[in-house]
């Protein structure tokens, strides 16, 4: 099967509010940077374009109408995936593996600062018959219910969540994209009042405006375009429950993460615990408990082991197996459908930096992301240099 690699990435924003550019201009800036980095002309060299976005986030019905121009996809095979960046990345990998496409652009953007009624938009994702009429007062209520169920099952306390929050908020201090990073202590988190029990403001990732564009290439094109391709060894995505049947899903776990990671591992031909074949992980952490749940579902560590790893500092950026060395979403924010893209971008850049010093095949990273409430869709990527 033809291998696929990320050959360049461009981004713009990662700020609580990008006031200077419209969403289309942000897309253009990110695209320009990705294409310049690879030295390609999208009008000539890129075979297909994906944009990952959802109508309601954009405030536009049929929002793919606005996709082609900013990314150079006019009168070319351009289309929209109503999902996270990583689901788009999966589509791009498949196009490359058909053997008919050499270079595919993947774009996603988010401008939550433009949304005046974010709770209203999030409520529209609830089942119109069973859940929406409840008019939940806080859109994070699902995160709170999940966190409580998770803590009840695992026996962990709020301290474990606070350790994740403090670790990631501090880890982001050295990341230029982590505009929500802060020197937070365990005490700060534990003494803060819950926003939605048991989650405090430190446990819930805020929103960020951002745009990301990546170029996915066949092996032949990757070798032509760059000396430092980052191989997409595996990619996976899974949906465990529709939002219309949210009430019946497993609140204390997320099997879709397990299935997505298994799919990615199977594509990569890898088995065993991720830390045996990767050197760090960028995991879902839009709620602090999700990092521990992601470690569990990805097969890195059970809840108690994860707690021990947190306590021992193993998952710190300088630890044995860094988890979210970028600071994750808690430090960089949730960029709507670009959130998975942020995690891939962090892993991509870290591997690129490593790749210059290391033998090929020496380093891999695991990325796990979730589409956020109320969805039960998760994605995973295994990148390698």
């Amino acid at each position: 099967m033809p291998r696929a690699a990320i050959v360049s990435a461009g981004w713009y924003g990662f700020k609580p509010e990008v006031g200077e550019l419209s969403f289309r201009e942000m897309m253009f800036e990110a695209a320009l940077r990705a294409y310049s980095a690879a030295g390609v002309d999208p009008r000539r060299d890129v075979d297909a374009f994906f944009s990952c976005q959802e109508d309601y986030w954009e405030g536009i019905a049929i929002t793919d109408e606005f996709a082609p121009e900013p990314i150079g996809g006019v009168l070319r095979p351009t289309s929209t995936v109503a999902g996270d960046f990583i689901q788009c990345l999966g589509q791009a990998v498949m196009l490359v593996r058909t053997g008919y496409f050499d270079l595919v652009a993947v774009e996603s953007h988010a401008k939550p600062s433009d949304i005046a009624t974010i709770k209203g938009v999030m409520d529209m994702a609830l089942d119109p018959l069973y859940l929406r009429p409840l008019d939940p007062p806080n859109p994070h209520f699902i995160g709170g219910l999940m966190a409580n169920a998770f803590l009840a099952r695992t026996g962990l306390g709020r301290e474990a969540l606070a350790m994740v929050a403090a670790k990631n908020k501090n880890a982001g201090l050295s990341n230029p994209r982590a505009s929500h990073a802060a020197p937070v202590t365990l005490g700060d988190v534990l003494s803060a009042k819950p926003v939605v029990d048991p989650l405090t403001g430190y446990d819930i990732a805020p929103f960020s405006d951002a745009a990301i564009v990546m170029l996915v290439a066949s092996e032949e094109a990757a070798r032509r375009l760059t000396d430092t391709p980052v191989w997409i060894e595996g990619v996976g995505w899974s949906t465990e429950s529709g939002t219309g049947s949210l009430a019946w899903h497993q609140w204390d776990s997320m099997p879709s993460i397990r299935m997505a990671v298994d799919m990615a591992k199977s594509m990569a031909g890898l088995s065993g615990r991720p830390q045996t074949f990767t050197s760090f992980a960028e995991l879902e952490d839009r709620y602090s408990f999700m990092e521990i749940l992601s470690m569990e579902e990805a097969g890195i560590a059970g809840p108690e082991e994860a707690y021990s790893m947190l306590e021992a500092g193993d998952t710190e950026p300088s630890g044995n197996y860094p988890v979210n060395p970028s600071g994750g979403s808690l430090a960089a924010g949730v960029a709507l459908e670009a959130t998975g893209g942020f995690r891939v971008l962090e892993a991509y850049e870290r591997l690129m930096a490593m790749g210059e010093e290391l033998e090929p095949g020496a380093e891999r990273a695991l990325v796990v992301s979730w589409r956020g409430p109320p969805t039960r869709t998760a994605m995973a990527v295994i990148l390698g240099v």
């Binding site: 121009e69 009168l75 109503a82 196009l95 058909t98 053997g99 008919y100 465990e240 939002t243 109320p374």
Partner: protein, 394 residues
């Protein structure tokens, strides 16, 4: 891609099953129930169950029609997507034909052996009218403040086509007469009828030159296909229908800067699909077509975009009966959107499903008279900018 001939598509992909719900206004089923009804039929016709399906592709046009944010997630269980790699794709009105295209790359990549492709739309419960949803498709800065209506811009396009090609309303109305008559044989049809050109001309003027019978109805419905790799297809059926070529294109957002008389984006998408299928002379190599016909003039417009007729030649061929079910190149033998109905994404997939039934000689009374080996289905959407094309053969 441009330099690569079709031999570089590694795996052959087949359609092995199709299903469709009734197309009606104000269906009582929820969107998820509609999706499942079509999916179940498609699985049954392929002799498969959900357990045999590796991946699911969902297609649905604007979220606002179903009134649900993240509609793919909402439809996931109704479409059989639980515990599977499930994704929703869309390109506005072009979505219906884009769903089998996305399903094609799932299989052609070798990642999935079988894919359930489901398209659903429930338009009729939008209040006060589905056109209200279309109020949000415009550029929020430049266009939306003007309060445009979708029918207005299609009226502009129809007028431009009539002027450029010197076509009368009487000739264009023949498309509506043909398709609504064809739909009399479609069990799912919502707007089948025996009407005359006079009926079309005498129907209410919506936005001149568009009369009510020039336009497809507001519909609810769902359609589904099952796609499979060559090995799987040969295992489950003796008569797989092969996807020979796919193509898709988005033109720019600025419809008002475009030559409205010719759908360049459809032509580009068609060229991509024909190249993949190894078709050099589509007007000769294609036996029948399902061009997208939400308005009667659009069928002619798209026949030309698909290069099945020269620019401005389609009206003349139509008058000669060329596109009748018994003609040289039958178009919309299903009855099209004008006759079967237009639940947006499902309508496009209905057209792809018609290729499947025709190429298996399972279309019953709708079966075209000539022998068929190869058909093309096409859909169109967004701000008159999306073209999606799929070529199938038996």
């Amino acid at each position: 891609m441009v330099s690569r001939p079709n031999i570089h598509v590694k795996s052959k992909v087949a359609v092995v099953g199709a299903g469709i719900t009734l197309f009606r206004r104000r269906m009582l089923e929820t969107p998820r129930e509609l999706a499942w009804e079509a999916a179940r039929q498609a699985l049954d016709s392929a002799g498969l169950t959900l357990r045999d399906i590796d991946c699911v592709v969902i297609g649905s046009a604007p979220d606002a029609f179903d009134g649900v944010h993240m509609k793919g997630e909402y439809l996931a269980d109704g479409s059989g997507g639980l515990f599977k790699p499930t994704v929703r794709v869309y390109v506005g009105g072009g979505t219906g034909v884009f769903v089998p295209i996305a399903a094609w790359w799932h299989v052609a990549s070798g990642l999935c052996r079988t894919v359930l492709a489901v398209a659903e739309e429930k338009m009729s419960h939008a209040r006060p009218h589905p056109q209200g949803v279309f109020a949000y498709i415009w550029d929020p800065v430049l266009e939306r403040p003007l309060g445009p209506n979708l029918l207005w811009i299609f009226a502009l396009e129809m007028r431009r086509y009539m002027h450029k090609c010197n076509v009368s309303k009487e000739t264009i109305a023949l498309v509506s007469v043909k398709n609504k008559r064809n739909a009399l044989d479609h069990p799912a049809a919502q707007a089948a009828a025996n009407i005359t050109v006079e009926d079309v001309l005498n129907s209410e003027v919506l936005v001149w030159p568009v009369n009510r019978l020039d336009v497809s109805p507001v519909s609810d419905g769902a359609a589904a296909l099952v796609l499979a790799s060559e090995n799987e297809a040969r295992r489950v059926t003796d008569s797989p229908v092969w996807i020979e070529g796919v193509g898709w294109t988005l033109d720019n957002t600025h419809w008002y800067n475009r030559e409205l008389g010719y759908p360049r984006y459809v032509q580009y998408a068609a060229r991509m699909a024909y190249k993949m299928a190894g078709i050099e002379r589509p007007w000769r190599d294609i036996d029948f077509a399902e061009p997208y016909d939400p308005f009667d003039y659009k069928e002619l417009h798209h026949i030309e975009g698909l290069m099945l007729a020269r620019p401005c030649e389609a009206p003349k061929l139509l008058e000669e009966g060329w596109f009748d079910r018994s003609g040289e190149l039958p178009t919309s033998p299903s009855g099209g959107l004008l006759g079967v109905g237009n639940p947006i994404a499902a309508a496009g997939l209905m057209k792809a499903a018609e290729l499947f039934w025709q190429l298996r000689y399972e279309a019953g009374a709708r079966q075209v008279k000539k022998p068929v080996h190869r058909g093309v289905a096409q859909a169109w959407g967004d701000l008159m900018q999306a073209g999606t094309v799929v070529v199938m053969g038996n």
